[in-house]
Symmetry: C2
Subunit: 194 residues, 2 copies
């Protein structure tokens, strides 16, 4: 399997973490977003959407969208709950992540860390919605544990990716202690270091 | 089962179409977004994210996020491909829909049809990205058929919801003939009329 990803991207790290956790063999193909490599014709042939991550499975078939990729890699593993309702709740968090979390938390980080914009110049709506996402997670995690059920699932993988980097975009996680404690638990459960 | 939804929302119609197609019994609980009903405490108790649709299953447990809901309702049905790779491709389209299609096609429609903004006043980036989404679908559907495999799947449900209303936001589907023909096929396959 080949994983095309940019190491600065939380979406790409999700795929690496799941592959490492499950002991899957892969070649990491570093693909720079900032350098325009995702717009090259050879890359667009793999993913017409021009986004990383993309995996090319051992039979040569490509697959894109971080959360679809990790769902595929983890099918049959404990990272996907066996109970149908818990599995649906896991997907609920994963769709929420892409719609209501990543566009604010990850985009703020990108603007500040990679485009050099001061935190004070971020669009107020972006900051407000990022805090709303973190507040919702704080509420869900107030009792400890993981997002769904008693063990780490793909919901935790998907949400941890950019939440643990939220500070890069000016979001102070000390205001969200349940979220901060959950990050430590997820990192330990999945052996995340990078 | 109760479905809390706003009839003007394509995300909510996805759930109705799948429930109707599968012959599932439900009570439709009309929940107006414009009237602020999704911000009422009783609704936030069902979905702290304050978004429709939400279903309350027959055992009383709630589930949110349109694409997670339809995945749950359709588990074990032909709307989800039995092949693992096809299932992952279906999810790829569903995550892409929420990240790269809905925020442009549905948001443009909302601004024009429900907030009264002239099409000419839409943010250029919104229009550009909406057209990029439609162009990607046109490319994928150029050969006819459905988005994944030989039959309608949840990928078609998720993408049809707002694509068939794209004209409301000023996107002329006559420029995307393969997409327009696919909409007719999806509507026929799922018996969609509303």
């Amino acid at each position: 399997m080949r994983i095309y990803g940019d190491s600065i991207s939380g979406n790409c790290l999700k795929v690496k973490w799941v592959a490492d956790h499950l002991g899957l063999a892969y070649d990491w193909m570093e693909t720079g977003v900032l350098g325009g490599e995702t717009r090259a014709p050879s890359f667009l042939a793999l993913n017409p959407a021009g986004q990383v991550p993309v995996v090319v499975l051992s039979d040569g078939r490509p697959l894109a969208q971080s959360n679809a990729i990790i769902f595929h890699l983890a099918e049959g593993s404990p990272l996907i709950p066996a109970d149908a309702y818990d599995r649906a709740r896991m997907l609920e968090w994963m769709f929420w992540e892409q719609y209501s979390h990543e566009p604010y938390i990850a985009v703020a980080r990108f603007h500040v860390k990679y485009l050099g914009k001061p935190v004070a110049d971020l669009e107020p709506k972006l900051v407000e919605r990022g805090h709303a996402a973190l507040a919702r997670m704080e509420q869900a995690l107030a009792g400890g544990g993981f997002l769904v059920g008693d063990a780490a699932s793909l919901a935790d993988v998907a949400l941890a990716a950019y939440t643990r980097m939220a500070g890069d975009g000016g979001f102070d996680l000390s205001a969200y202690p349940a979220v901060a404690a959950w990050i430590t638990r997820v990192e330990a459960a999945l052996n995340i270091r990078d």
